[in-house]
Symmetry: C2
Subunit: 161 residues, 2 copies
């Protein structure tokens, strides 16, 4: 039985959700492929141009994203050309947007050129700029790291010695 | 001059903030090193045990994170042992927490074992669970991808032909 006191040596990271997510989206190019999907880009050649990923790598990344259910492969056909496939975000894929936006805004803040970020995100309804923030279930928002503390969750496992 | 209409072919991703952030934190192991830093782990051997990263790779990752100002190298000394260094999150490093939490909660939701997530984050003040959410400057919160639209920002550059 794990004590509820926070002791990093006591629990295992074998089932860490950060690590598991990175197993799906942590490879080089994958987040940029998802960026293009959020930009509305659906076709292989367009994703390739938008990301600059080598074609064989892009094929692999798309396969992984489809396999894990973040993108769906949807057939389309233009006159006189054989049937092809578009890659469309699923609900599961769209739920990664906070992560993508959080990465983007860190870059906007710390790595952008003096003229500012190339892309911003707006709330469709009101037009205000959108950010990724930390908020709690009691409605407190824009929390910083210092406002938070990690705690063992229901799936915590004891570290093996 | 770029039109304000969203046209993915018209602008370049050369200065994309997602790509720039991933150049700093997108390599394998780096986010897990930061996870340990947020867990309060500071010493090389402890970070190594917490992540399972090979020692030579961990050395490189820590060097990169210090170089880019996310971690600070702070000397410490225990009796009878030569001076060593701890790795402590800087303000810049702490600002990556929304990204880390967003990746974690996606994994919690889609990849966790049936018993649930191993770690949760709580608001220190009120004890409620903390999540990464999308919120706009007008105060609307828990926005989904469909509530948002990308728009060219002040640093948008025309795509080269």
């Amino acid at each position: 039985m794990l004590s509820m006191t926070w002791d990093r040596d006591a629990f295992s990271a074998d089932n860490c959700s950060v690590a598991r997510t990175l197993q799906v989206v942590g490879e080089r190019w994958t987040m940029l492929v998802l960026r293009e999907a959020f930009y509305g880009v659906r076709r292989f050649d367009d994703i390739q141009r938008g990301t600059g990923a080598p074609r064989n790598v892009l094929t692999e990344r798309l396969k992984t994203l489809v396999h894990h259910g973040l993108l769906e492969r949807v057939p389309y056909q233009e006159p006189g050309v054989r049937r092809r496939f578009e890659y469309v975000l699923t609900g599961r894929g769209r739920e990664l947007l906070p992560a993508l936006v959080a990465l983007m805004q860190w870059g906007d803040r710390h790595l952008a050129d003096p003229d500012g970020p190339p892309v911003v995100l707006r709330h469709r309804d009101c037009g205000a700029l959108v950010h990724a923030v930390l908020a709690c279930d009691a409605g407190h928002t824009r929390l910083t790291a210092r406002d938070t503390r990690p705690e063992l969750g229901p799936g915590a496992r004891a570290a093996s010695a």
